[in-house]
């Protein structure tokens, strides 16, 4: 397996800004660019909580495709795999403010947390009140359950964004939006797998060992290394192993209702994803767990990584209702049918 080092780009240093221009132009009915930030084409009504996130680029459609009605108000994209700085996040907080407070969501990664905290300090210094930050994590491979707050953010945050976006759209208080973020976090787990690695588009350096073609489980979204499974492992075995780990970590009893996400980490085919999903579904059914909602597709990618992640969210009536609420972003739409 070779690592693709040449991409269809102009000067790689301009890749992020040119991507944003192209993406926003293609989805001008939903989003627009404002000072390097992605904002809604039609802002949320006044008097509702603004929801904002800053994150590194290279994970698209996260999070540029998740700005819109029922989702985020503002996304502040940083450089490739790097959180934006505090100044950018502060601009995002200001842009998301509709007079009812701003919820700053952070996928737990060292740089994202540091820059978000620096931004909150600056917001305080400037007299901006009513900003709350919630740090989100879900990746079971990144720390044992006893140190759950040390875990990093992974694909399962899909559920958190969807549910928080929905309750903010309905006009809930800042406190209530933060409560939903923490509840959804508490009930969500994810785990990723991949084979091979990808090259950083600017430096050209592979993120992992380009010679190693075995399957690894538990990678981070920036190519952080995982546990190797060898080369001969079949899709069903991988799905079963991953679902088992997620269910056990979440202590899911038989009869539980879950949302199941299969995230395309970059370059997997629909064929592979469907086979993997089939295996996951079978394992959940064997355990008596009801898959109430499913979503397959590219949500948070690592460039063109040949990888994927499973995430499960333990639904209850409140979370299911928020998941089903209408939403419209460039990369995620929930039709108004429920």
């Amino acid at each position: 397996m070779s690592v693709r080092t040449r991409l269809f780009l102009n000067n790689p240093a301009d890749a992020v800004s040119e991507m944003l221009e192209g993406y926003a132009a293609a989805h001008s009915d939903v989003i627009r660019l404002s000072d390097g930030m992605v904002v809604r084409a039609t802002p949320k009504s006044e008097g509702r909580v603004g929801v904002v996130i800053g994150n590194g680029s290279g994970h698209e459609p996260a999070m540029i495709g998740w700005v819109g009605e029922g989702l985020f108000d503002v996304n502040v994209p940083g450089p490739i795999f790097s959180s934006p700085g505090p100044g950018g996040i502060l601009d995002g907080i200001r842009a998301a403010d509709r007079g009812a407070g701003v919820l700053l969501l952070v996928s737990s990664h060292a740089g994202d947390i540091m820059n978000a905290e620096l931004a909150i300090d600056e917001a305080e210094d400037e007299g901006i009140e009513d900003v709350e930050m919630v740090i989100l994590y879900d990746d079971v491979a990144s720390a044992p359950k006893e140190q759950i707050t040390e875990r990093r953010g992974g694909a399962g945050l899909f559920f958190v964004w969807k549910m928080v976006g929905a309750i903010a759209e309905r006009g809930a208080s800042l406190e209530d939006c933060a409560r939903i973020a923490r509840r959804a976090r508490h009930r969500t787990r994810s785990l990723s797998a991949a084979m091979g690695t990808v090259a950083h588009p600017v430096s050209g350096q592979p993120l992992g060992d380009p010679e190693d073609t075995s399957v690894a489980v538990g990678l981070g979204v920036h190519g952080e290394a995982g546990t190797r499974l060898g080369e001969d492992v079949e899709a069903d075995q991988i799905s079963e192993l991953m679902i088992r780990r997620l269910v056990e970590d979440a202590d899911l009893p038989a009869g539980a209702r879950v949302g199941l996400l299969l995230n395309n980490g970059g370059s997997l085919t629909i064929m592979e994803l469907s086979v993997l999903y089939r295996g996951a579904r079978a394992e959940l059914e064997r355990r008596g767990i009801e898959v109430a909602r499913s979503w397959i597709g590219p949500y948070a990618t690592t460039l063109d990584m040949a990888g994927f992640a499973f995430a499960i969210c333990h639904l209850d009536d409140e979370l299911l209702d928020l998941y089903d609420a209408p939403a419209r972003g460039a990369a995620f739409v929930m039709p108004d049918i429920h």
């Binding site: 790097s82 959180s83 990664h109």
Partner: protein, 209 residues
């Protein structure tokens, strides 16, 4: 003594040195991180150099604050936050000192910067981070400055300790930051942030001499 012009030349020297070593830094980063540390540090220092050029007869404080902001604005990530906080803290301290500043003023700024890096990064010495180069460098610089050494000697002490500190990170297991998820792979490799700290101080010694 440290005036605005020397401060500007320190940042320019750091920019050249880090730029010359950016591929090596990125390679170190690819072992446990995402392989862009060298590019990011070179980008931030180039941006700092550009911004400082646009300042009219800046004070040392203005030079270091502009450098801190350049890190925060242009690269972000953990390294942008941490190096930005380090330079910003030096700027904040020098703003309370005379102009030109004495070696002890710069050392006081470096101490503030180290404290801020440790707070923002939740890092302690021994966790395989930039703190392992910065902490001994600041402490040796304090000893030298306290004994009345010249700025060049103070920075020389800092550079030697930073280099030793960076070398010591090779055998460490990462306990803070993103590298902790790839602990095993990273043993045997120096921490890229610690190496950047050493490069910056080394570039400063030559400039101050």
């Amino acid at each position: 003594m440290l005036d605005g012009d020397l401060s500007r030349r320190l940042i320019e020297a750091a920019s050249r040195r880090v730029s010359d070593h950016q591929d090596e830094l990125s390679r170190l980063d690819s072992v446990a991180g995402d392989g862009d540390h060298g590019v990011n540090m070179a980008t931030a220092l180039a941006e700092a150099t550009k911004r400082i050029k646009g300042l009219d007869d800046p004070t040392p404080a203005e030079v270091f604050r502009a450098t801190g902001r350049a890190f925060h604005d242009s690269v972000g990530g953990a390294a942008g936050a941490l190096f930005g906080s380090f330079f910003g803290a030096i700027g904040g301290q020098l703003n309370r000192s005379g102009n030109p500043a004495a070696p002890l003023d710069l050392v006081a700024g470096m101490e503030k910067g180290l404290a801020r890096v440790m707070r923002v990064g939740r890092a302690e010495p021994g966790q395989k981070t930039m703190v392992d180069a910065l902490s001994p460098a600041v402490s040796e610089a304090r000893t030298a400055a306290g004994a009345g050494a010249s700025l060049a000697r103070v920075l020389g002490a800092a550079a030697r300790s930073a280099r030793q500190g960076a070398a010591s990170t090779a055998s460490m297991e990462p306990r803070a930051g993103r590298a902790r998820y790839a602990a095993e792979q990273s043993i045997g490799t120096e921490d890229p942030g610690a190496c950047t700290v050493a490069l910056i101080f080394e570039s400063w010694v030559e400039t101050a001499e």
